[in-house]
Structures are given as C-alpha cells and as structure tokens.
Subunit: 318 residues, 2 copies
Amino acid sequence: MTSEAAFIAALRAIATAPGARGLHDDAAVLAIGGAQLVLTMDAIVEGVHFLPGDPPDSVAWKLVATNVSDLAAKGAVPRGCLLAYPLADEDWNAAFLTGLAAACDAFAIPLLGGDTVRPPEASARSFALVALGEGVAGVTVPARSGAQPGDDLWLSASVGDAGLGLALLQGKGTADPSHTEALVERYRRPSPNPALGVALAPLVHAMMDVSDGVLIDTARMAQASGARAVIELDRLPLSRAFVATLGDELEHRLFAAQAGDDYCLLFAAPPSATGLISLSQTHGATLHRIGRIESGIGLALTHAGTPVPLPERLGFQH
Amino acid sequence: MTSEAAFIAALRAIATAPGARGLHDDAAVLAIGGAQLVLTMDAIVEGVHFLPGDPPDSVAWKLVATNVSDLAAKGAVPRGCLLAYPLADEDWNAAFLTGLAAACDAFAIPLLGGDTVRPPEASARSFALVALGEGVAGVTVPARSGAQPGDDLWLSASVGDAGLGLALLQGKGTADPSHTEALVERYRRPSPNPALGVALAPLVHAMMDVSDGVLIDTARMAQASGARAVIELDRLPLSRAFVATLGDELEHRLFAAQAGDDYCLLFAAPPSATGLISLSQTHGATLHRIGRIESGIGLALTHAGTPVPLPERLGFQH
C-alpha cells in the first residue's frame, strides 16, 4: 500500500459521517435546509497537476474547472467556491486572477471567500479550491457505486486530447500547429458541463468525472459498484485533432484511455434511459456509448470484438 | 499597499456575490434550501502559523480549531469540514490524523472529504481546511460590521496566553513549568466555543473571532462598522498563568492585546442584552466587558481612565 493509500484508509476511519460517502466518491453530500449540498475540494500542485510553464490564468481556470467537473459528475448546480491562495509575485497574481474571474464567470460559480497565505521561499506553487453545488431536488445525487449489470457505459466527450496536449508540451512528438493549440487547450482549460450533469442525474445509475484516465476511472466505478465493466476501445470517441496527430489504431486508443485530465462525464445508465440522445442535442455534447456493465468484478477491454489485455498502467495515479 | 492587500482588493472585484460579504467577514454566508450555510477556509503554513517543532497532532488540532473559531464567530453549528493535505512521512501523517480525529470529535464537526497531494521536495508544510456550519434559524448571521455607538464591547476569554506561549517556545523568557504548559497549550490547541457563539448570535450587533490580536481585530470591527471602538486595557481579561509569568501592568496588557492566536469571541452588544451574564454560566465561559463602541472612527485605548497612545503595531498581520 502506498503512503497515500494508507493515509486515505486512515482518513476513512475518521470520515464516518454518511455524507462523506466513505471518501469513495467525487464529492461529499450533506443534507442542509432541505437541500442536498454537494461539496468537493481539489488541490493542484505545480509540477504534478500543472507545468511550471503553464500560463497563470490557465492554472486558475484549471483549478476551478477540475472542481466544477466534480460538481457536474454529481449533477449539482454550482453555488460557490472558496480559494486557498499562496501569494506569488504581482504579475503572477494578476494573471491568476484574470483566469479565476473568467472561470467563475464561465461556470457561473460565485467566489465566496478563501484564504491567502505567504508561502516560504522555494515552495512549489500549490492551490486548493472548494466548490459547493446543489443537487437536483428529489433525485439521489449520483454515486460512483450505483452501476448495475445490464447498464450501458457512456462518455460525454472525446478523451485523450488533454493527455496528448501534455505530451506535446513536454516535447514528446509534434503536431500541426492548429491541432497543437486545440490539444494543449484541452490540457490547460478543461471544460466540464455542469448543466449536462444536472440533466443526466435523474437518468443514470452511476456517474463520475474522468480525471485520471478512462481505464482507471472506469475500473474505480466497477469496483465501487461491485460489478464488471467492459470497454469497447473501438467505440472510444477521439477528436479530429487527436486522430490527425496520433492515429486511431488500438495503441492510440489505449493511449487516450490511459491519459488523464479529460474532465468529461463517465456514467452508467440502463438501456431504458431513452432520453440520453435528445439530451446530447440540448446540451451541445455528444454522448458516446463505450461499453457495458456486467456481473462480475474488474475491467475488461475489447477492440473490434476481440479481447485486449489490460495494460499494466491504467491511468494517472497520484 | 502590500501585495496581499492588493491581491485581496482585486479578489473583491470578483467576489461580488452577497454571500461573500465583500470578503470583509470571517466567513461567507450562503442561503441554501431554507438554511443559512456559513463557510470558512483557513490555510496554515509551517513557519508562519505554526512552528516546525510543533507536534503534528497539535497542527491538525489548530487547523480544525481556527476554522471552528470562525464558525463560532458567526453563531454557526459546525456541520462538516474538508481537508487539503500534503502527504508527509508516515509518522507525521499518523500523528496528524490523531489530532484531526480528536479535534473533529471535540468540536463535533464531521470530516466529509478533501484532497491529498504529494508535495515536491523541500516545500514547507501547508494545510487548508474548509469548515461549514449552519446559522441559527431566524437570526441574521452576525457580521463584523454591525457594531453601533452605545454598544458594549465584550471578550469571551482571556487573551495573550497563546502569544506568551509562542514567545516561550521561541526562547523569549521563561516561566514556571506548569504555567509554560498551560500557555503553550493555548498556543497549540485553541479551544473555540461554537455553542457559545450560537447562544450569543441573537444578542449581538457584531461578532468576530480574535485571531490576530485584540487591538487589530477590534480596529477591524470598528472600521467595518463605521464606528469608533474604545478598549479599557485595565479590563482586559488575563489568565493566572499570564499574570504570574509576565505581570498585569500596562505594558503586559498591551502585549496581550497585540498577541495573536487567542481564538476567542469579540462582540458588540447593546447594554439591553441582559442575557449575557447568564449565558456565561451556561457555557462555562466568562464574558468580559472590555470597552464600548462610540460614534466616530478608529480605535482608542485607555488604562485606569487615562488615554493610552496606540502602539505602532496593533497585531499580527500576515
């Protein structure tokens, strides 16, 4: 067990309130004043979650977007956020604030407060944000753990773009400039869709966001649900920029499924949830059926009907 | 203007939602369902808010307690908290968790979630906690800004102990071992009283917690309220350990009023609020009238009826 896994296991012994959901979900859920308050906190660290060269406004955007992505995954309407900010030099601060304002505005999430600290010299930049949302009235806030055998498995957007954008930033390969821009943008400025999450919440059995990669996040959903997930890799949605840069063979599909930072929705819904396709149209997102939930345990992959062995590394573990 | 002041001024231009209270208060207030949700986030940094030698369990306690102190100041019942935790070595993690569990238990605040990060080497330890509470139904959540001329100014506990405890830890002076223990304990393990805050909320015009020192925090209340505060330093409550170690002359009282980390309640209430004294008895806290609110601006000090000039440094500014 890694020290992080050991730490989280020990935290679980403390976080025994039902709203903590055993720390197994994207967010906590607290009943307050007749509402379902959804709470998430994501911290990001320079060199781990973003690159030292990333523009400060995109760091702020990413911090807000990763938290909003958790709210979207719980079908929660964003209600507010709080920021822990270590002061930097004035230019960095100003650029960060520009991105913060833009993201709060774009996701309609008011900044309510937070804390600033003066970090000691030579510390890596590290930011934490808490986002609050309100779950859909009368609908159980979707958990990771509700997937049932017979469900279809869906994705709300193409995957792999952010991972490929990161690889390009790290000098691993090249792409056509217009594709590079689109792919780097997906890495730096995730665009979660909370309105889509709200609309999906009543239709799904389980929902979570894809942050560490489709394979590892699907495996987590399967494990939390006590079920087996099968991903048909040939159904994985890939963007035009991704295919033009890398290709769409099995190896490229595996790359896309192992890459992190997608921040789209992964959900399991019964075949009877016929409203899904019309939802796609309303919310400007194309929903893609990528597989199914079966009885059993674990994760299985196929490509054009043929079983594919699981890669050793399923995704980003941090 | 310091870079922090400039940053917070720029943040205010973003945090325009009413619930943010202009970032001038201890906490944000969000109407959700039929409840008043009170939200606060405090970050603490090694070398700034705690000493590198402080026991990890006391660091966790202090992190929870400083946030609970903000809830107490808004008369909010603690409902939950979320933690941003940079992983340390296993012994440190384990000791931190012991203190976290003890504090969550003592303040009846469930741990609901959070995030762990793996900090880069050589970073100072830095933790952030968000605490949520529920305001008293039917009572406006007390602000810093409501003090009115004619109000009395009150403190809910003795001050200066934590500051003296810190000084002793830093090798500035010595004390009798039993006093040292009590004073260091006040520095390392603040003991806010949210039940007292809840009971006070309907009776006060303004309330906040004392975190940076009585003088600077009273000046902040006066400024937010557009009024003048007068503190009678001879009325400042000092503990037996404080007086035995330092004394109770004017200079010692000024030290106590400039020291931070008291985490007790400062409030302004009209003389008609006659329930205050009986509250003291119910909640095991002695309330001390330390001055009054007048029309005007700023802060004034007296000692035994004689005006005392304001010291250059009012408290802890960070």
